[in-house]
């Protein structure tokens, strides 16, 4: 089979893995070699589905021995199969990298023959890149559940990030849709790598980085499919919060289920639940960067996130007793909880208010969006919104675009 045909098949098979980041790694070029890794990550293009293309995202092979119901590459599917050799992938990566098409490689694989055999092929590819081509660009490698410790260790040593996809948030769903895999198998590589990580010394992201952006060890991520199984948003976020609290993972990716197979165990949906996926990412951000707790993000009696409002706005509407807050005195922790104020806006406010008492004009000049913010803040002692602070009224103002109604002049009062 020609290389182009293999690339076509193996890219098609890899595209449902949503991980695309190339950030968080600081690797410098080795002498005589090529490439480095930029801590901020670099997107090289965006595909027609609006997703960033940063890495050569490809499967080593799509000849899978497993038969997971949600997966395009399941053994019972009648699709074209292909396997690339480690040499072919290494050559392709280097040639794409030299042309600045990509930031590095994202290498995953279906389970060919056995987990160890597959993992060895992945290791061989990474070894060729790092040792033979002296490539110092970004590499994200998939850890195959069931592979032996020594192979996991070797791959981890060569990659910038490793991941193992949990895919389904509960053991029951895993048993039903992926009977060949067990939850402990899927989680094992992550837990094992964390153990390895703990043995490593604390290292800095940049040579002169501040202590608060120092991080420990090996970067790991996973993916959860949203909508292929009946778990609620609370179940999904509980799992993510567990990983973040235990420092097991740097990032959880959520992938709206795209119906690639049709079996009785899978839901019949017309379109992937993209808005639900979006809300989960917003909630995930609140967990990681805004110090929200899981119970704050999802209301007491709810099991799913609000579709109408983003999670921060939904939280603010449930907690109106905490608002309005005075932008000129509120602390950073509270500022970042105001809908419409993000990390950068909060930092701008804190810096600017050292010099002057801020009013609405100042916020607009600093390009802080007041669209939602104004309903939750005081500026120079005055409420910035134009309606009473009641949940039902604010919900109305914050949801659909409002008709602008010219208020009648109060002639009758004269």
């Amino acid at each position: 089979m020609k290389l182009e045909q293999k690339l076509k098949i193996l890219t098609e098979s890899a595209k449902y893995d949503v991980s695309c980041a190339s950030s968080g790694s600081h690797r410098t070029r080795t002498k005589g070699g090529i490439g480095n890794a930029a801590p901020s990550g670099i997107c090289h293009s965006w595909s027609s589905d609006g997703r960033c293309v940063s890495l050569l995202k490809i499967l080593l092979s799509n000849k899978c021995i497993y038969n997971c119901e949600y997966c395009l590459n399941r053994s019972s599917n009648n699709i074209e199969r292909a396997t690339m050799t480690p040499e072919e992938i290494a050559d392709l990566t280097i040639n794409f990298y030299r042309r600045n098409y990509i930031e590095g490689l994202f290498l995953s694989s279906a389970v060919v023959r056995s987990p160890d055999y597959t993992m060895e092929l992945i290791y061989r590819t990474l070894w060729l890149l790092r040792k033979e081509h002296m490539f110092s660009g970004y590499i994200h490698a998939k850890l195959i559940p069931g592979a032996s410790d020594i192979l996991i260790e070797k791959v981890t040593a060569l990659a910038d990030r490793v991941s193992s996809n949990i895919e389904l948030p509960s053991s029951e769903s895993l048993l039903r849709l992926a009977p060949d895999k067990s939850r402990s198998d899927v989680l094992y590589p992550i837990k094992y790598v964390q153990k390895l990580s703990e043995k490593l010394p604390v290292k800095c992201l940049k040579p002169n980085s501040m202590p608060n952006i120092r991080r420990r060890g090996i970067s790991m991520s996973t993916q959860l499919i949203v909508g292929a199984s009946p778990e609620s948003d609370r179940d999904i976020l509980r799992l993510s919060a567990y990983f973040y609290n235990k420092s097991l993972l740097k990032r959880v990716y959520y992938s709206a289920y795209v119906p690639v197979n049709h079996t009785s165990n899978l839901p019949a949906i017309q379109a992937p639940p993209l808005l639900r996926e979006h809300r989960l990412y917003q909630a995930d951000w609140l967990l990681r960067f805004y110090n929200f707790k899981l119970d704050e993000i999802i209301g007491d009696n709810a099991s799913n996130l609000s579709i109408e409002f983003d999670p921060k706005t939904a939280w603010a509407l449930r907690n109106l007793h905490l608002f309005p807050i005075d932008v000129n005195v509120a602390d950073y922790e509270m500022l970042i909880r105001v809908p419409g104020i993000g990390i950068r806006s909060a930092q701008k406010i804190i810096t600017a208010r050292r010099f002057t008492k801020l009013d609405m004009n100042d916020l607009l000049k600093m390009r802080i969006s007041l669209k939602r913010t104004k309903y939750f803040i005081l500026l120079k002692g005055r409420y910035a919104g134009e309606c009473p602070m009641r949940e039902d009224i604010l919900s109305h103002y914050l949801s659909a675009p409002r008709e602008i109604i010219q208020q009648s002049l109060p002639f009758n009062e004269f």
């Binding site: 090529i34 930029a38 670099i42 027609s48 589905d49 098409y101 992937p272 390009r367």
Partner: protein
């Protein structure tokens, strides 16, 4: 109306800043001597070309007074190439010479405008680090043509030098006729012209084809979102990007 007339370089802009610092006279507009004709009869012209300064001393004072971050903001805002921003840079630097603390105050117009202008330029610099597309020439050199909005070449130089090491490459800014030449790990910025008949390596079309195949196949049809794609890769950049050609 006070008009500062200066050359189109950063030192001239810094000269203006020192003039403001010493005299307290700020410009309403900046005019570039060779490019902009005189417009009004009742203008108070300050010709900065007539003022001589010791460039070494100016740079030394700037380095001493401003943090590295603020210096890169000044540089970034300058590369925006906008006359009105030049006036703001002059005021920003003059303000920093008088009271460095005030440079944190985003409610002051010049502080905000310099920061926003620099953010814009560095935003494009970050974008161009990804959007540059090299092609291998028959002589083994890698060549890329770019069409950025701002003059980003000086700011992407270090990134590509650090990344490609000993590989020889050229990045050509089509709009400005400027080029970055890198040979044996050393890059220089200079004026250049490129002929239309470039001789490419015989494998070039093969790898460009593979990249286009990959780019097409990696998209999920059910998630099509051309609007978002256009927002992220504006059409303006696409005619020099392999996957859109």
């Amino acid at each position: 109306m006070t008009i500062f007339v200066c050359e189109d370089d950063l030192i001239s802009v810094l000269k203006g800043a020192f003039y403001i610092h010493e005299t307290g006279v700020a410009p309403d507009a900046v005019r570039i001597a060779q490019k902009d004709p005189q417009q009004g009869l009742f203008e108070n012209i300050v010709d900065l070309r007539q003022i001589s300064v010791n460039v070494y001393n100016v740079l030394k004072i700037i380095q001493k007074t401003f943090s590295p971050r603020q210096i890169s903001r000044i540089q970034g805002a300058f590369l925006r190439g906008d006359r009105q921003v030049f006036a703001e840079i002059m005021q920003f630097v003059a303000l920093g010479l008088k009271n460095p603390q005030a440079l944190q105050n985003l409610t002051i117009d010049c502080v905000r405008i310099v920061r926003e202008s620099a953010d814009r330029v560095y935003g494009e610099v970050h974008r161009m680090k990804g959007f540059v597309r090299f092609a291998r020439l028959a002589d083994n050199r890698f060549y890329a043509a770019i069409k950025p909005v701002h003059n980003v070449l000086p700011l992407i130089k270090n990134h590509f030098v650090a990344r490609f090491g000993e590989t020889d490459w050229v990045i050509y800014d089509k709009g400005r006729g400027l080029g970055l030449f890198c040979t044996a790990g050393k890059a220089v910025l200079c004026q250049m012209a490129v002929s239309n008949d470039l001789f490419f390596d015989r494998n070039e079309a093969f790898y460009a084809g593979l990249w286009r195949t990959f780019f097409e196949k990696v998209a999920i049809k059910e998630r099509e979102n051309p609007r978002l794609q256009r927002q992220k890769v504006p059409l303006f950049y696409r005619d020099v990007m392999t996957e859109f050609m």
